[in-house]
């Protein structure tokens, strides 16, 4: 298990800068992994870094960051190549291939790590920090390295994002119109491994995939355009990186990586709940609004039918429920809503419909009957099948559809009017 080095205050600006830059770059790369359904592959790559880091250490004979990262890059890349071979040549399904590669590489890394620790130098070398990351080990040189890597990632994206977007959406089409698809996919894979390598010191091989996947998920729920999605993902990641680092710096000796991941997860959860359009809250509000509209329309239609039957006296809630306007538990609230719109009048003693309410109810009832006639004519449905379908169709409020329905029925007037 990793041990967490205590913070010293003078380190904080360096660590903050490093984590923020790294999280932003990883988020940008992660958006394309997300769009190409490759987030799990990025996770496998991150885990596959571990044996390479250990080999890098053994070969260099000391904790030299460039040697470690070069080793990690090599095994991470190897895992991606093997994944491609296993899925394309050996016919193994992607999820299985990734599960196998992730655990085999990580297992090999764990073996090497325990061997290094038995040499008695491993803990001192801080290799175990690479499991869960330790931002506090970042020094200025590391931050420069990470920033350079991140700048490279942004530069490549600035030039290639249109091509990446095409390839992510429809690779075969991209190939047909002449994009260098294999080359572009290779660059994307390089960027992914590069981002993982750059981030592994801060969040560790186990948590790295979160930095790639979660900002994309959060950003996607707010926008349907790629440009804003990339910007939002990077912004969320930078903010979470800074927030997570500050939290972990506040309680001394707490791990940075896990805090960053948890803050990110909170941002993503908030986005999934609160985003307009795709958010769960917005969807549920839309559903409730629709449900209330249906209840309103059903009650008004009921009043119209009672009016047609000559029942015009005010009716108490119990009587209205008895006549089956809508389910009783919705009745009271619906009547109050209709009263506030001026469509019904009355109180608990008795409710009656206003003339505006009658017009509204007639509109729904007419539409219901038109649909019944239309279905009887065009679908040759037996009579007992018509009503239930019309109960749903009567609520479709499209004036275009209404016009077509009317035209259709007027062109072929029914032989008997019901």
């Amino acid at each position: 298990m990793a041990t967490w080095t205590d913070w010293t205050t003078s380190q904080l600006p360096v660590v903050l800068a490093g984590v923020a830059v790294l999280a932003g770059a990883a988020a940008l790369v992660g958006c394309f992994a997300y769009l190409r359904h490759r987030s799990l592959a990025a996770d496998a790559v991150a885990h596959a870094l571990l044996p390479g880091l250990c080999v890098g250490y053994l070969l260099a004979g000391e904790r030299s960051l460039p040697a470690l990262l070069a080793g990690g890059f090599a095994t991470g890349w190897l895992a991606l190549v093997l994944h491609e071979r296993l899925t394309r040549r050996a016919g193994i399904r992607p999820d299985t291939s990734l599960a196998v590669l992730l655990s085999v590489f990580f297992g090999a890394g764990a073996l090497l790590l325990s061997r290094i620790q038995r040499l008695g130098t491993g803990t001192a070398a801080g290799l175990d920090h690479f499991l869960f990351g330790s931002a506090s080990t970042l020094v200025e040189g590391d931050v420069l390295l990470v920033t350079a890597l991140a700048a490279l990632v942004v530069a490549v994206l600035a030039v290639c994002w249109r091509a990446f977007w095409l390839v992510s959406f429809d690779p075969q089409y991209a190939q047909v119109i002449g994009l260098p698809v294999r080359w572009l996919e290779g660059v994307l894979a390089l960027l992914t491994v590069g981002a993982v390598v750059a981030g592994v010191q801060v969040v560790g091989v186990v948590l790295m995939a979160a930095l790639l996947a979660i900002p994309a998920v959060a950003a996607r729920s707010w926008t349907d355009r790629l440009g804003p999605m990339l910007g939002l993902a990077a912004a969320v990641a930078v903010a979470a990186g800074i927030g997570g680092t500050l939290i972990s710096a506040g309680g001394s000796g707490r791990p940075t990586g896990p805090w960053v991941v948890l803050v990110l997860a909170g941002a993503a959860l908030g986005s999934l709940l609160l985003a307009p359009g795709r958010g769960l809250l917005a969807r549920s509000l839309r559903q409730q609004a629709t449900a209330r509209r249906l209840q309103n329309e059903n009650v008004l239609k009921g009043f119209w039918i009672l009016h047609e039957r000559g029942e015009n006296r005010p009716l108490a809630e119990g009587e209205l429920a008895q006549r089956g306007l809508i389910r009783q538990r919705f009745l009271a609230a619906t009547l109050r809503r209709l009263r506030s719109r001026g469509w019904v009048a009355g109180d608990a003693k008795g409710w009656s419909v206003t003339s505006a309410g009658l017009t509204e109810g007639q509109r729904i009832a007419d539409r219901h009957r038109r649909w019944e006639r239309w279905m009887a004519r065009h679908l040759q449905l037996p009579d007992d099948h018509l009503h239930d379908a019309a109960e749903a169709l009567e609520h479709l409020s499209s004036s275009d559809l209404d016009d077509r329905l009317r035209r259709d029925l007027d062109e072929n007037p029914p032989s008997e009017i019901d």
Binding site: L35, H37, G91, V159, C160, R162, A163, W165, L166, S168, F169, D170, Q172, Y173, Q175, V176, I177, G178, L179, R220, T223, D224, R225, L226, M229
Partner: protein, 270 residues
């Protein structure tokens, strides 16, 4: 609809084309010439290799033998003149792109992918959207479209390529009547402008009405030619009837025994 009786220029030459997935051959020794300025259908039962033939023509699947030439040249030399409409199911429609974005992708067939689209590109995109009745949906996310509208977005993207030859994989599959009518009108206007359209088609009933020229395909080419000559009971029976069990079995054995689809060691005795 067979108004083009004079012998037409040859747009595509398919010569001895064999395609194998893994080692199992799915198309055997196809020879066909496709004439210019025609609406051409590729027709055959499920699993006949119709989509594979399109993909093989476009270099998306490797050839086990043979070659394909467009205007006498290999595909990569003339790819700017060829537009492809893949099957609608081939992409994830929950993708952050609007209808106009997707159509704009077609412009990258004619321009470098690292450049911004120009004002002329955007005007052309607007015209293509208009032509397929998508103008009002231009800023919709593509996942919010109906199946027929998605299919039209793909057609508009191909149209934005301003190609001379259009290869379309099942553009009529699972679309509403309005989309079907609009698609057919588009194909006819392309043909009337002198372009060539090749369509993988599954519906025998509409084939004779919609197309000028037909390829009947079932693992091998059964027949190719003007609709009236090819859509005959006899040839259709050959295409849709059995009789190919032998070829299927041979393909399976080739796959099972890891034999090469083409024998690289054979001599030239014949």
């Amino acid at each position: 609809m067979n108004r083009h009786h004079r012998p037409a220029e040859r747009v595509v030459e398919i010569h001895d084309l064999t395609v194998a997935y893994g080692r199992r051959p799915v198309l055997w020794n196809i020879d066909a010439d496709l004439p210019a300025g025609q609406l051409i259908a590729i027709i055959g039962p499920n699993g006949a290799g119709k989509s594979t033939l399109l993909k093989a023509m476009l270099g998306l699947v490797p050839l086990a033998s043979g070659y394909v030439r467009f205007w006498g040249q290999p595909f990569r030399a003339v790819r700017q003149r060829v537009a492809y409409v893949p099957q609608r199911e081939s992409v994830d429609w929950d993708f952050p792109a609007t209808v106009a974005d997707v159509v704009l992708m077609g412009r990258y067939a004619q321009r470098s992918w690292w450049l911004r689209p120009s004002a002329a590109d955007r005007q052309l995109v607007d015209r293509c959207l208009e032509q397929l009745g998508l103008s009002e949906l231009r800023d919709r996310q593509i996942g919010q479209l109906s199946g027929g509208q998605q299919q039209r977005a793909f057609l508009a993207r191909a149209l934005a390529q301003q190609a001379d030859l259009y290869l379309m994989d099942e553009p009529f599959a699972g679309v509403d009547a309005a989309t079907e009518a609009r698609t057919l009108a588009l194909l006819e206007s392309l043909r009337d402008a002198g372009q060539t359209v090749v369509v993988v088609h599954h519906d025998l009933h509409t084939a004779a009405r919609y197309f000028d020229w037909v390829l009947l395909l079932n693992l091998r080419l059964v027949a190719a030619g003007p609709v009236a000559q090819v859509l005959t009971p006899d040839l259709l029976a050959q295409t849709y009837g059995g009789g190919l069990d032998l070829l299927h079995q041979a393909g399976s054995i080739l796959a099972d025994d890891l034999l090469p689809t083409r024998d690289p060691t054979h001599g030239n005795l014949d």
